[in-house]
Structure formats: C-alpha cells, structure tokens
C-alpha cells in the first residue's frame, strides 16, 4: 500500500490490556493514561484489546475511562505469544490503529515483536517517554546501553507503530469520563500451536537478593547497636525494598555478606537507594555509584558519600528513621 494512504487510513491508539486470572496488570492503566494524553494531541480515538479466560469482566473496570471501543478475546489458553498474537492481530485488522501500546512486562515484551513483524513495522522497546509529532509519528524515547544513552526513535513509513512501555513511568488517569464504550467480544479458541502452557506455578517471592531490588535501605557504621538494624529492616519493608549494609557492619558480624554492598560484596544499581550512617569508602562506592537516585543521611557533613549522593542530608538517622516509619505506617 502507498505509505501515505496507509498512514491516513490508520487511526487510533490501541492499548493492550494484560489480563491474568481475573486481574488486570496495573501497567494497562498507565498505558491507557498515556494513550489518552497522546490522543488529545493527535485527535484519535483510544481502543482497548484484552485476551484471556473470562476476559469480559474487564468491562466493569473500564467504566469511566475515555475508551471508544474495547475488544475482548475469550480463550482457555494461558499466555503464550503465538496464540495471543491471533487475538491482537484480529483486533488490529478491524480497527487499523496508528499506534499500539503494550506494557513493557514479561508478557508484553514477548508478544510485541511477533506483532511488529506480522505488520512489517517498527517496534520500540521499553519506552520511558512518548509524544506525537506534527506528522502523526509516535516519538519514542528509550534508554539503551544499560541506561547510559537515551534514544529518540520514530517509525515514519509504516503503521501501526508498536511500542512497549516501561512499567511505573506513565501516569494513569482517573475514571471520570462519560464515554459510551462499545464492547466487541470474540474468541481465539481455534488458534492452534504445538507449544502449550502445561502449568502455572506461583513464584517463589522469597528471592532475597539485594541486586534485584529497586529500592534499597542501606545501613552503615553510623548504626550504633545491632538491635537498631531492626528499624532499618522495617523501613526497608515499609518502602517495599530490601535491606543492605556496608562492609563495616558485616565486619562486626551484625549483617551477612549476602547483604553487603561494595567491592568485596555485591554490586547494586537500584532505582533509589537511601543510606543511613554510611560514610562512603572507596570500596563501598565502587559497588553502588551508578545508582540513579541516592539519598544519604549522615551526621557528618564531610562524609564522602555526600560527594556522590543526589540528596545529601546532614541529619541523625536516629532522629529520622522513627519519623519515617511513623509516617509510612500512618
């Protein structure tokens, strides 16, 4: 097809809703929020597609959202890319959207490439920022090289434009709209594959590695007694992160090598780290200095950790931690 014709005939932003055992993945609403913001700019409708068992229950959850129509494909199959592809492609064939947004989740990132190749079009992975330019191109910004480089990417000549979007980056919107959403129910039970999901297992959530955690609360030499670590462990839990320590406390036998950050321990790079009473030895900093957000609390304004901390706070951890816990529990 002529490129311009194809571009012209493609309209709408389609959002893939991730659905498993009657639950919608939260990233779906983040995508919906972003789709709405983009649609305001490009003056296009927003669509939703979802696949799964008993998927039409999503209807209730969509109430009040700015969606033109929602496509639900019923199937007994648990997620597998080649099967779910059939549902999304059926929907795309019907509405011919200009843009398809999929969550940057395990499921989304497995599904999206098949669809992009099916339509011989562009796919940009793990976007952290989206925009639409004057020509209707989706401007996609994503990190590469382990976050050391940002790239601005467009799909100029083909449609739809596929993007997977990182979780917890886009803001969801509130369901305050009064749209009369059209629901289209289909099924993909006749989709066949020699691959099959034979079981779903609960994940062992007890994976205790500090290297995987997005949030770390780190204790250092400034902690005076072993018992005081309890409040820092509690804080870590309340913040939804993990507890870690500098080598000094491992040396004292208060914490384990598994919890140790530094040259002779673990190298970590969480999204955000807050250190309490960590002075910042060369050995320690070699194990964490790429962390993008470092909050450091230390009573010593000359503490070396303050040289690399984004938020250096000169304060006593014994003053601050109980307040934090109180606040988070409230």
């Amino acid at each position: 097809m002529n490129i311009n014709l194809e571009k012209k005939s493609s309209k709408g932003i389609l959002v893939y809703f991730e659905f498993f055992e009657n639950k919608i993945h939260p990233v779906s609403f983040e995508l919906l929020g972003e789709a709405y913001r983009l649609s305001e700019k490009s003056n296009e409708p927003v669509y939703v597609v979802a696949i799964g068992k008993n998927v039409k229950v999503i209807k209730n959850a969509l109430k009040g959202y700015p969606v033109k129509s929602a496509y639900f494909y019923e199937t007994d199959n648990y997620f597998q890319p080649d099967i779910y592809e059939k549902g999304v492609s059926d929907c795309i064939n019907k509405i011919k959207p200009s843009t398809v947004l999929i969550g940057g989740t395990a499921e989304g990132r497995a599904l999206a490439p098949r669809l992009a190749v099916l339509y011989k079009t562009g796919l940009t992975a793990d976007c952290t920022e989206l925009d639409i330019d004057e020509n209707g191109n989706l401007v996609q910004i994503r990190p590469a090289f382990g976050g050391n480089i940002m790239a601005k990417i467009v799909t100029e000549n083909t449609r739809p434009q596929f993007a997977t979007v990182r979780e917890k980056v886009m803001k969801p919107i509130k369901p305050v709209f009064s749209y009369d959403i059209e629901y289209i129910i289909g099924n993909i039970n006749n989709a066949k594959s020699y691959m099959k999901v034979i079981n779903i297992e609960k994940e062992d959530t007890d994976e205790n590695s500090i290297t995987d955690s997005k949030i770390l609360v780190v204790a250092g030499r400034g902690v005076k007694k072993k018992e005081d670590l309890n409040m820092l462990r509690e804080l870590a839990m309340l913040l939804g992160g993990k507890f870690a320590s500098s080598r000094a406390l491992v040396e004292k036998g208060w914490t384990t090598p598994k919890e140790q950050i530094g040259l002779s321990g673990n190298t970590v790079c969480p999204e955000i780290m807050i250190t309490f009473g960590v002075s910042g030895t060369v050995q320690f900093m070699a194990g964490m200095k790429t962390t993008p957000n470092i909050i450091a609390v230390n009573t010593d304004a000359n503490a070396r950790i303050f040289e690399i901390a984004h938020y250096p706070i000169c304060a006593d951890l014994y003053d601050i931690v109980p307040e934090l816990i109180k606040n988070l529990k409230a």
């Binding site: 030499r221 040259l263 002075s279 050995q283 304004a301 000359n302």
Partner: protein, 467 residues
C-alpha cells in the same frame, strides 16, 4: 548530633565515625588522636607544620589495603591521602607510549579508568598489578608491591619517571632517579609521596589467562618446577604471571563466591581438585599459542587433564580470573576478620618470603610440614616461578595465633640461612616488625636508620614502621 566542620578546618579529632581509619587489611587496629584529609601539597605542609610544632607523629594512609599495618597509627595523627586522587597532567610520547602524573592517593580502579579515557586506543597501561584494585599508587610505591606480573615486568622503578615527596622539613622534593630507592619500599618513613609521574607502556596485543587444575599438590609442584627449569618462550610472547592457589584457598573462595560480585559468575571448581595454577601469557596470538601448547603438554605430564584447563582472553575475562586470584588473599583476610571479632588480638599472619635455591616441591613441603607440626591450618597461594608464596595462617584462637608467629619465625630463620628473603612485597610495617623481632639483620635495620636520620630525624613520619 550534627557536626558541620568549619570551612578551613583541616584536622579533625578522632571520634567513632573515623574508626575505620584505625585499621587496615591486616586487621591490626591502632589508635590516634586526630585525622586529616589533605587535598593538595599545600595542605600536607600546613598539617605537617602543626603536628611538628606539637611533636605529634603522623601516620600516612592511602587505600588501607596494606597487610602489615604500615598505615595503621599507633598514636598521634592520621594523614589520609584518599582525597588526593587527581590526574595532574599527561603526555603522549612519540614512540606511542606515554606518561601520566597523578596525586598519590589515586587508586588503581580510577587510574585504569583515567588511562583509558586519556589514551584510548593507544592501549597503554602501568604494569604493577597487585590485584587489589582499591590500592593507591602511593601505597603501591611505598610498599614496593610487586603483584602477579612482577616476574616479567620486574621492578616498579622502571615505571616511575618522577616522584615528589614532602619531607619532614616541609620541603617538597623532586626525587632524582638515583634516590628512588630512598622512597620506594620505605613505607613512608622518609616522607610522604605526594605526586608521581608514571611511565605507561603498550599493552600486549593479547593476554591469555590459563588455569590448570591438579588433583594433588605434588603434581602441581612438579609441574611448577618443570616450568621453572625450562621456562617456555616464543618470539612474540612470554609468561606474564604464574600463580599457585592451594585447596584451602580454593575452599575459602568457593565459600565466599556467592556473595562476591566480581567472581560470582565463574563456574564452581570441581571438588576433586586440590589446587590450581593460574598462568598469564602476554604477547601475540601465535606466540601465546606456542607457549600455551608447551604448558599444556607439561601439565599433562603431571596429571593435569588438559580437558579441564580453562583459558580466557580479552581484558574483561582476564579481569575476572585476576579477581578470582585476588579472592585468595581477600578471603583469607575475611577469615581473620571473623576471628578478630572473637579475639581482638588476632591479626593477619601471612608470609611474604622467597627462596632461590630449592625446588617448589621442597618449599611447599616445608610449609606443609611446619603447619602440621604446629597443628595449624593455613592457606597457600602466590607466585610460582619466583618461589614466592604467601602462606596465611588461619588461627582459630589466640593460642594458635601465637603458635603461628612461632612457625613463621621458624620458616624465616630457615630462609635467612639459605639466602632467602623474608620480606618481598608487603613491607615490614608494624606487624612484621613484631613477628620478626630480633631476626632482621643489623645491616638491614641500619639502612633504614640512616635514611631516617637523613630525612626525618624527629621521627614525624610513620613512627613505628620498621624501626
């Protein structure tokens, strides 16, 4: 309480938060009244002046990675140089090599990064490789640390162009080449090294790191002796490192591996192996292969299955195997650290001796006999081709610690009687001074005394080291 220092303050009284500056990798802990972190030579001089007026001795500190307590203060003032870690200037020479002038507190991690940033595809490096990457250049020079590549790159002096030292008089001296030996390896007793111009040389075009595994120590020893007697060479390559690691060390490393990021990604070592030899070959691929083939044949003769030998190449992979080698001393030190928690008197007890005229097999047998005679546990690793092993006593009690000292003295006596050297690269500091009390020859001590007299008659610098 929140403590905010005054802008121009240089000297801080010792408090709990400076505890970490009272100890180094030897796990020997000292005492001090004050500490400073000078940022340049002027500040060094200002601090020195204040201390001299009050006759307070100054202990110089770099990365605190030393293992004889040289940087651990017994009293007085600590001058920590870790803020003096800048590159001052650099020069690219016509022959493709270069020089880089750094402050003495720069550590090897930063030095390597800066060299890469400045010289890029020129691919230069500074040869001393003590494998402890947080060691500072000043500390390496002060202890004359040789590391794993000394066998081929030889003396550190070859890679220093200029040295600046702040003497006790407060004068900055640019040390002439002839006088390098009054600074290198003198553990800071003649002044504080403030700035160094390093000579960088071209990296070998390729490095291979080969690990041979043996099911018993005797086979490994015979292998090492066979290589020593006829070191394989080729026109375009040479052996750059030849390291031995024994079973106890391997066990310590394997035990720590899951929590050490640097070596976590290496596969587990088969339990049947008693020991390994880690060998680096530097040069061009063809020459390297020639030597590697030769080594493989020799190793096979001594029952090392060539199918089990590892061989890596490329900088990143070599870094990993070097980290594994470095984990040997690191885990031994961690063992001491744990014991020290039970008994503060326990410190590192490691040998740093070499002996020229006996076989590796006889040497290691001597160590094993000693350990079993004294009923002690110890791990052994070190430099194979130089008969230079680091035996680390792993005491379970203070009683065993004392026995360990006795044993090391016994070994040292034997080494001295047989033209050996009892201090090679770790220095004497405070720990070896104690351990070898009465054993170091008068001539040896006198040399230091003369230097001390010449440069620091008031004993301001590093009091307690060597003398």
């Amino acid at each position: 309480m929140v403590y905010v220092s005054q802008k121009n303050e240089l000297i801080f009284p010792i408090s709990e938060k400076y505890e970490e500056y009272l100890i180094d990798e030897s796990k020997f802990m000292g005492n001090a009244e004050s500490i400073s972190f000078p940022k340049n030579e002027d500040e060094i001089i200002s601090i020195l002046k204040i201390m001299k007026e009050k006759n307070i001795p100054i202990t110089i500190q770099g990365g605190k990675t030393g293992i004889v307590g040289s940087a651990v203060p017994l009293e007085g003032h600590i001058m920590n140089l870790s803020y003096m870690n800048n590159v001052k200037e650099y020069e690219i020479l016509e022959d493709g090599t270069g020089t880089i002038t750094v402050e003495s507190g720069i550590n090897l991690i930063d030095l390597k990064k800066e060299i890469l940033r400045i010289f890029k595809e020129k691919a230069l490096f500074w040869p001393p490789e003590p494998t402890e990457t947080s060691a500072t250049v000043g500390g390496i020079i002060a202890t004359d640390a040789k590391g794993i590549n000394a066998f081929v790159y030889e003396n550190i002096q070859k890679y220093i162009k200029e040295l600046r030292v702040v003497r006790a008089s407060g004068i900055i001296e640019v040390v002439s080449k002839e006088d390098f030996n009054k600074v290198i390896g003198k553990e800071g007793i003649t002044g504080v090294i403030s700035q160094i111009t390093l000579k960088l040389i071209k990296k070998p075009s390729e490095i291979w790191g080969i690990s041979f595994f043996f099911e018993n120590e005797e086979d490994a020893s015979n292998f090492i002796d066979a290589v020593r007697n006829d070191v394989p060479k080729s026109e375009t390559a040479f052996i750059g490192a030849f390291e031995y690691i024994d079973k106890t060390s391997l066990n310590l490393i394997e035990g720590r591996k899951p929590t050490m990021a640097k070596i976590k990604e290496l596969p587990d070592i088969d339990e049947n192996f008693e020991c390994m030899c880690y060998i680096e070959i530097h040069g061009e691929d063809e020459g390297i292969e020639e030597i590697a083939g030769n080594l493989m044949e020799t190793a096979a003769m001594y029952n090392s299955d060539p199918d089990t030998a590892w061989a890596v190449s490329g900088e990143t992979e070599i870094e990993k195997t070097r980290a594994f080698r470095h984990a040997a001393p690191e885990t031994a030190n961690l063992f001491i650290e744990e014991k020290r928690r039970e008994d503060k008197r326990i410190t590192k007890l490691g040998t740093d001796m070499s002996i020229p005229n006996i076989s590796f097999l006889d040497m290691i047998k001597k160590y094993r006999d000693g350990l079993s005679k004294y009923g002690l546990n110890g791990c052994i690793f070190g430099h194979g081709l130089e008969n230079h092993l680091h035996v680390n006593i792993l005491p379970n009690s203070y009683d065993e610690y004392l026995k360990g000292i006795e044993l090391i003295r016994e070994w040292a006596k034997y080494y001295l009687e047989n033209n050996g050297q009892i201090v090679c690269e770790h220095g004497i500091g405070k720990l070896k001074k104690k351990i070898f009390e009465g054993m170091l020859s008068e001539e040896f001590i006198n040399n230091y005394k003369i230097l001390k007299k010449e440069f620091d008659v008031d004993m301001i610098w590093n009091r307690g080291n060597i003398l």
